[in-house]
């Protein structure tokens, strides 16, 4: 074992050596620096390994031959080993990244760099208060020196502000140390901690001064303008160090000194951390300079960590895993992001669109963003999960809200940024050089995130059940992403089919899950089949699609809360990348993501309440929520409703589905939305529905469902864009489902299942076919289409069957849903909601007619005369689904009877009785098979009759009509499609005034404008920042000690 003292010795030695012989060393100095940093990394890594593998005692290093308090002592325990290791790793990688910059500046810069890293090591290891102060100073001065690597006025100013601010802080710290020494007679930290200085009114001043200066070192909001400016002006390579290394060291110092003042001080730390986390992220929302944005995010994350420290007595033993998960995610992601920023060198986050030129770097960027927000499989996901559940277990609602609100605000700017990088139209993307010494460190940080994520999974309660198998498949698809579409498509389909066989025995006997697994997996295979019509490599599509399906199936398989939430987030991430692939999808992917994060946090809150009720990690915990049950149910329902796009939470859907690629739309519409339905069903089955809260919630959701349907159908009727029309139709269909299952009776749920299955089938067909047509004709607008029946007869039949199902026209299966609805509504007594549902159902005919008429009927346009039928790869899955519809229509009992039996135990009365093919309720009866036979026979007889009567018909040309007393010749002026429901709009259009959109817009404006107003405190002048620091101290003093 190499002693920890060598970390310091080697760094100092090399630095001195460079100082003495720097000029004559020439090219050797940079290698010497790297070697030194490598050695330091090795030493700390070796200690870390030692502590991890052997249960070794803490190593204490005494200097100068005396024992403390007469001399300085250092300590190397498992935590010190961890912190020095991560500091040295980022130091080493950072040096590699800055290799050329350091080389250009010469040995002096390298010396400063070495001293900087060394000082952080000492700050972590030292157990002497004064020594801590000295090395904090050394670190500050070295940082200021490193800032000046960038030769600009801005950097000079930033360095100066940094020095002034840290100067004030050090002064305060020094006074604090003096007091501490005076009161306790020792400078040794252990002695100081034992002195219990917080207890007395006189000694507490020392505690205050030390705390306030350490907290100020961590750049608390709002006294942190000087810190932000450093991030903005410094070389991003330095930003990475400050964010990853300095902040980690500072965090550890606070951790080390936490017992200094006693429990009451923890509250102040937590509050300051909370304010910093929310405030700093809020500032980020109006920021468009990448480095400054990263600065806000860094400070926000450190605020979160500070808050975790402050809450340590509440979090108990969970504190370690929480802090570790969040710290390591912040550390790796922030370093990676700063380094990426240095590569791109854009002044504006919009310039990050350039990243698109290198899909691999884009992938890294996505990794970092998702890790920061706390998506699985990153460590922050587990950290946040543990944090929220532990807080819930202790009834800390306000903290939970603070954390989730801050995280959400962070999502606002991070996903805007990611969206720009993936999709923003940017005319001349700046070129950037890819240098390997710069890429490698970024790479390592991404690997760290994934590896640590998998590493911590089993440490979380219930985490060991998480199934990483589907994720391995995703990884494999990433690896073969360079292959052509048909190979990857075949592999993906094969993977899903294999999983079907794998999962069937697991789910056998659980019909509810089996139905949804069927929708997800069969739907996956069918929608992927359409992918064969695409050419090229379709980079990134397959891993993301499979990630979504992995998430979807994970939800089905989940038996614990964390598995469910893990899969839910995975699905969200996969679907986000699928949605944003569309040409004009940037804003829609963004709003999808924001609603998804908001929804996910609502679910997380609900799950945390469920867990905290009985400390049960299984999904069954939802059944015995006794902590704020109504709030928990409501939050969970709202969370799931962000996916089902119910009224109020629907505004992301039309754009997201409408602008997605032709085979993505059916995936996200026919399949993905059902995840929300599944969530709601699970919730409704588990929850205590006899409680007043649950009854009221269901009543409200019933109304929400009915109004969603009305709004969705009416909006669909006024669309000109074919895919948006279908998207609004999805909103409405999901409204039906929400309404149906809110009824909470066997009939209601049967209606819900009928709608779920039908919607899966017809919406997949419609989006596939219409998407194919849109792609073929090159326009979304229906009025630019027309007469396609002659060119695409198979598509026409597919669409016709689908619209008959949506309309609920007998004899197809849509009628089953309508019939069940009438019975369920009257049985339940929800007459007025029911009347709205039926009213909405008839409005559906408006858009159905518009859809089929505008595309297929009417006048063929001149530029479409040579168009052919859409690809067979789209038609084949559609016709397979049509066969499904036909079977469901003719033999509904085979599907509905088992579902009814499955539901029977959940609902007190079994109201639907089957006698062969005939279904009977207390109200009415319906025989799908007979209706099918009667209608088919009669139709064929009538057709035969017409054929017999008019055997000699002559086909005529397109314009062989008389309209307005002349024979028309221009299809554009003869095709009736644009705004065909103008009269209806005049009469009832006011019902769909976009109030919800206006509400969310004003909400977002409120947040942004508030952030903008708040931002003015960062005036930029040195005096202001110094005053902020002083005011912070004064205010903190007045609150903590001044009796305020």
């Amino acid at each position: 074992m190499v002693g920890p003292i060598y970390i310091i010795a080697v760094a100092l030695g090399i630095a001195f050596f460079m100082g003495l012989f720097g000029k004559s060393l020439k090219n050797l100095s940079e290698w010497a620096m790297l070697a030194g940093l490598g050695f330091m990394t090795y030493v700390s890594g070796q200690w870390l390994l030692e502590f991890m593998s052997n249960n070794r005692a803490v190593e204490t290093i005494f200097t100068a031959g005396f024992k403390p308090p007469y001399s300085i002592n250092l300590q190397m325990g498992s935590i010190e080993a961890f912190f020095t290791f991560i500091i040295n790793v980022v130091g080493f990688l950072g040096a590699m990244y800055l290799f050329k910059d350091l080389k250009k500046t010469g040995p002096n810069a390298m010396m400063v760099y070495l001293v900087f890293i060394m000082s952080l090591n000492v700050v972590v290891m030292t157990r002497d208060m004064f020594n801590l102060f000295v090395f904090l100073e050394v670190g500050s001065i070295a940082t200021a020196g490193l800032i000046l690597l960038t030769k600009s006025g801005e950097a000079l100013q930033a360095g100066m502000k940094y020095l002034i601010a840290t100067g004030i802080i050090s002064g305060v710290l020094l006074i604090g140390i003096i007091f501490a020494y005076y009161f306790s007679g020792s400078l040794n930290i252990d002695d100081l901690l034992a002195a219990n200085m917080g207890a007395s009114k006189t000694t507490v001043i020392a505690v205050f001064l030390i705390y306030v200066s350490i907290i100020l070192e961590l750049k608390p909001f709002p006294a942190n303008g000087w810190g932000i400016d450093v991030y903005t002006a410094a070389n991003p390579g330095i930003g990475a160090l400050v964010s990853a290394a300095t902040a980690s060291a500072g965090f550890y110092v606070l951790y080390k000194l936490l017992p200094l003042g006693g429990a009451e001080w923890l509250n102040y730390i937590a509050v300051i951390g909370g304010i910093t986390f929310v405030g700093s992220n809020l500032m980020g929302t109006k920021q468009d300079r990448p480095n400054r944005l990263l600065g806000y995010s860094s400070i926000g994350q450190i605020g979160l960590l500070m808050m975790i420290l402050g809450l340590s007595d509440i979090l108990g033993e969970k504190m370690m895993i929480i802090a570790f998960g969040i710290l390591i995610s912040h550390y790796a992601a922030k370093a990676g992001l700063f380094w990426l920023s240095g590569l791109i060198q854009a002044k504006d986050i919009k310039g990050w669109a350039a990243l698109r030129k290198s899909p691999f770097l884009l992938f890294l960027f996505g990794t970092f963003v998702f890790a920061l927000i706390g998506f699985p499989p990153f460590p922050s996901f587990f950290g946040k999960w543990e944090l929220i559940t532990t807080l819930a277990a202790n009834g800390q609602w306000a903290w939970m809200v603070t954390i989730l609100a801050g995280s959400f605000i962070e999502g606002i700017y991070l996903f805007r940024w990611l969206g720009y990088a993936i999709k923003l139209d940017h005319e001349d993307l700046p070129d950037f050089k890819i240098e390997w010494n710069k890429i490698f460190p970024i790479w390592i940080m991404a690997i760290v995130l994934y590896a640590v994520g998998v590493y911590v999974t089993p440490m979380v309660e219930g985490g060991m059940f998480i199934n990483y198998l589907p994720l391995m498949f995703v990884l494999f698809l990433f690896a073969i992403d360079f292959l052509p579409v048909y190979i990857k498509n075949t592999i993906s389909i094969g993977g899903i089919i294999w999983y079907m066989f794998h999962i069937y025995p697991v789910l056998e006997g659980d019909l509810l899950r089996l139905i949804f697994a069927g929708i997800f997996l069969v739907g996956g295979v069918l929608t992927l089949m359409a992918g064969y019509s695409k050419k090229g490599t379709r980079k990134g599509f397959y891993p993301m699609a499979m990630m979504m399906f992995a998430g979807l199936i994970g939800i089905i398989e989940a038996s614990t809360l964390i598995e469910f939430f893990f899969s839910w987030e995975l699905m969200t991430a996969g679907s986000y990348f699928l949605i944003i692939r569309g040409k004009r999808s940037m804003p829609h992917g963004y709003s999808y993501m924001l609603f998804s994060i908001g929804g996910a946090y609502a679910i997380l809150f609900g799950f945390a309440l469920a867990f905290a009720s009985n400390f049960d990690t299984s999904l069954a915990a939802l059944g015995s929520i006794n902590l704020l049950p109504t709030l928990a149910y409501t939050l969970l329902a709202v969370g799931f409703m962000t996916k089902t796009a119910s009224l109020g939470l629907h505004i992301w859907l039309p754009g997201a589905h409408g602008e997605a690629e032709s085979d993505v739309s059916p995936m996200v519409s026919a399949i993905l939305l059902k995840a929300g339905v599944f969530g709601l069903m699970i919730l409704f089955l588990y929850m205590d529905r006899t409680s007043v809260g649950a009854t009221n919630l269901l009543y409200v959701l019933g109304w929400v469902g009915a109004l969603t349907t009305l709004m969705g159908n009416m909006s669909a009727a006024f669309q000109e864009d074919a895919k948006r029309l279908l998207a609004y139709s999805s909103v409405a269909q999901l409204g039906y489902i929400l309404f149906a299952i809110s009824i909470m009776s066997q009939l209601g749920w049967l209606a819900g299942f009928t709608y779920t299955i039908n919607h899966f089938m017809f919406k997949a067909i419609l989006f596939l076919v219409v998407g194919g047509i849109v792609a073929k004709l090159g326009t979304h607008y229906m009025y630019e289409m027309g007469g396609m029946i002659k060119k695409m007869p198979f598509s026409f039949i597919a669409v016709l069957v689908s619209i008959i199902v949506i309309g609920g026209i007998p004899p197809l299966s849509g009628f089953a849903g309508k019939w069940l609805f009438y019975n369920a509504v009257i049985e339940k007594g929800w007459y007025f909601q029911g009347a709205i549902i039926f009213f909405a159902g008839i409005i559906a005919f408006l858009y159905l007619f518009k859809l089929i008429h505008s595309i297929f009927l009417g006048q063929l346009k001149d530029n479409h005369r040579n168009i052919k039928e859409i690809s067979a790869w789209i038609l084949v899955p559609s016709y397979i689904l049509i066969i499904g519809i036909m079977i469901f229509s003719a033999f509904p009992q085979y599907i509905l009877q088992p579902i009814g039996d499955m539901l029977a135990p959940y609902f007190s009365t079994e109201t639907l009785v089957w006698e062969g093919t005939k279904a009977t309720t207390s109200l009415g009866y319906w025989d799908g098979t007979t209706i099918m036979i009667v209608v088919a026979t009669a139709f064929l007889l009538l057709l035969a009759w017409l054929l017999a009567l008019s055997s000699k018909t002559k086909k005529i040309e397109q314009f062989n009509i008389v309209f307005a007393a002349e024979r028309p010749f221009r299809p554009e002026t003869t095709h009736v499609s644009y705004n065909i429901y103008a009269g209806y709009k005049k009469a009832l259009g006011f019902l769909i005034t976009p109030l919800v959109t206006a509400f969310w817009e004003s909400m977002s404006n409120l947040v942004l404008e508030f952030a903008n107003w708040l931002r003015r405190i960062y005036g930029g002048s040195m005096q202001n920042y110094a005053i902020h620091v002083v005011l912070f101290i004064v205010v903190f003093y007045l609150i903590a000690l001044g009796g305020l």
Partner: protein, 302 residues
Amino acid sequence: MDYSITKFLWTLLGLFIVTNWGMLMSSTMRRIGARVSGRIGIPWYQPWVDLVKLYSLRTQLTHGTMFYIGPVFRLMGGVGMFLFLPMVFGNPIWSNYSFSGDLVLILYFQFFGMLGMALGAGEGGQPYSAIGISRGLSQFTTIEVPMTLAVISIAIQYHTLSISEIVAAQQGGITTWTLWTNPLATAAAMLSLLGAFGHSPFNLVKAPNEIPIGPPTEFHGTFLGVLRTNSAILHVAEAALFMNLFFGGATSWFELIIKTFLIYFWSVFVGTVFPRFRIEQSVRWFLKVPTIIGILAIIIFL
């Protein structure tokens, strides 16, 4: 469930009766309309003459397959409604195939013919057709609101959706009719009926003198013959539906003829008095008084 040939033949006979009664009823109504405006009107046998002429025209032009089968869909709509509706109460022969579905089936089967016709007319490419259809659909959404409320109201009242059972519950004299036992639902439905039958002021779909005759503009010869046949059946079937729901049903064909005539006459009577609405007026009209009556018809049961 009876799928026998005998059943089929009886049903066919019923269809024949209904078709002929429908044609006679329409010529009578046209004569009444003519007398009101001071004309003599057509002879009572004019519909049969028209039908023979239409079916025997030599020139048959078609715009395509959907255009061709559109009228078949339309006729199927009328025939299907007849098939699923019990015509004469207490006689299994005239209950047709109503054992396969209840009132909800009838309500939704209406759309079968409408949709097919809309698509057939759409393929013709005639703008008047599309305009007529868009008006029809718009208007129909709100026509159905009071009707739905009325249906819910009587479903609560009788606790059934089976038409036969609703008729059975009304047996025993005029005072047991829904008309007396639930006048609000009847009123809402009868106002909705005005729209459903498409006479003035709600004749927006065909709107004579405005968009020639709307959806059927391009249809002629046999196609038009099929459409005429359908309207004869449909008028009787729709009137029979209202008869069954609100006016005690019919225990004999004679009773059915009297009642359907009067129900149909109600819409003609209103039609001769009021001029045509504009689309937005019509759409809104049904959401005002008729809907309020419909809501009241439910509130009384709460």
